[in-house]
Amino acid sequence: METPLLTLSGVTFSYFTETEQTQAVAGLDMEVKRGEFCAIVGPSGCGKTSVLSLMMGLLKPQAGTIAFSEPNLRIGYMLQRDHLLEWRMVEKNVLLGLEVQRRLTPEAKTKALQLLDTYGLGAFRRYYPPQLSGGMRQKVALIRTLALEPDLLLLDEPFSALDYQTRLQLSDEVYRIIREQNKTAVLVTHDISEAVSMADRVFVFSRRPSRIKTILETGFDRALSPLMRRHTPAFLDLYDRAWKEIDR
């Protein structure tokens, strides 16, 4: 069997303040396979975001290990809000990551700008972020992440700041982009239907400290878009099972 792209074993993490410590993650074991779309759902404040930050290396686990299948794996992180820099044009925002990592070669630049064209934002290259709608801005943020050509994409509630309709449309589109680019992805969300409709596997987390309560294999045909999946009987069944697990 192929080794998983990402393996967490016994990962433990607590936040400290002057007055107390809060255990966010306790002895978490988890695997993400190459090319897989994983989702993590759980009640709010259950430490989902902490798990992503640990995977990204922004936080260091106090116990346990996080191992990658290859040493120099590139990871892209997408935040809840787009955080586009409003004094930079769209194209300059997209190139920000490459610039920071000093990888802004002409080829990388062309590739990144092609992504804008491919995903319908080519005409807005020279716009400033305040001139774009919320959904477009979030798409620019995704392309900013993809421009770094990450092997693994971490998505931290990327749709939660959007209105319902934009959210459904954008999750469809993001799903398609991630599939077309053949990325491995971990999506964190509190929205069960979003997790079930997008992921191959859904990790249902317990209340803090985070433990995995159950793992649901959605078993959808990968060609089926999240919006189409929402209309299948299997979706309702999976939704129910996830809901009951969280509620319990």
Partner: protein, 262 residues
């Protein structure tokens, strides 16, 4: 262009004209009443002077070349105070942003320094640095430095930590976070600080000149007061108004340049 829109544009234009007219009316009215009051004997022109006497004084000073020397001295002191005050103040703000612990250590002292009227230190400066131009320039620096540091540092610290988190997810170093996010985001506070400190350095320099100088507009004001030449005092104040306004305009122009690229 339809009728309603044309009317709207016309109204806007009239409004702009009315404002401009009002501004000129205030200026003319002020000097007119001043002159008229002096001429009709409403007050003693020996105490309050009058625009014609101010003008005569300016012309006389200009003819004797003294005026340019006084203006040059004060202008040089103020520009030096402003430039070094803002430069050092900004550098200090950068340092304190970079080292949060140092920031926390120095915070109460910064608060005290900000609240302290810096001109209270005038006599101390004269003893330390000597009764000359250097003391006046240092006063100008001191007065603009603290306010610059406080304003700019607030701007830097107000940059959302989320944007800094984003930069960390992209693998940015602290220097990159500063140059690519904190500095551009704090630019408007930097400009606000410039505008405050351009006025502040005038305060520092004029007070400095009150205390020690042998030339400069502040010197002329004090001298004129002592020998009861109110024409000289008023003339100096009017020149000061013009210079301060010009310098503020220069900063406003700089603002336009800096923010155009954004």
């Amino acid at each position: 262009m339809n009728e309603a829109y044309r009317r709207y544009l016309l109204r806007q234009k009239r409004n702009r004209r009315a404002v401009r007219f009002g501004q000129i009316a205030v200026l003319v009215g002020f000097f007119g009443l001043w002159e008229l009051g002096a001429a009709l004997g409403w007050f003693d022109p020996f105490i309050l002077s009058s625009p014609s006497r101010v003008w005569a004084t300016v012309v006389r000073l200009a003819a004797s070349n003294d005026l340019w020397q006084h203006i040059g001295t004060t202008l040089l002191e103020t520009v030096l105070g402003f430039v070094f005050g803002t430069l050092l103040g900004t550098l200090l703000a950068v340092l304190l942003w970079w080292l949060p612990t140092l920031n926390r250590i120095l915070d109460p002292y910064l608060v005290v320094l900000n609240a302290l009227p810096k001109i209270a230190l005038g006599p101390v400066l004269i003893v330390w640095i000597g009764a000359g131009m250097a003391s006046i320039v240092v006063m100008g620096i001191l007065v603009s430095l603290v306010v610059t540091t406080v304003t700019v540092l607030n701007g830097f610290n107000a940059t959302t930590s989320d944007k800094q988190l984003l930069m960390r997810t992209l693998g940015a170093t602290k220097l990159q976070i500063f140059t690519k996010v904190v500095l551009p985001a704090g630019l408007k506070d930097l400009i606000a600080a410039l505008k405050i400190s351009v006025g502040m350095s005038w305060v520092g320099v004029i007070v400095g000149e009150y205390l020690v100088s042998k030339s400069g507009l502040g010197y002329l004001i004090v001298y004129g007061g002592q020998v009861f030449k109110l024409d000289l005092v008023m003339a100096s104040v009017v020149i000061l108004c013009v210079l301060a306004a010009l310098m503020y305009e220069a900063v406003a122009l700089l603002e336009k340049r800096l923010t155009r690229g954004a």
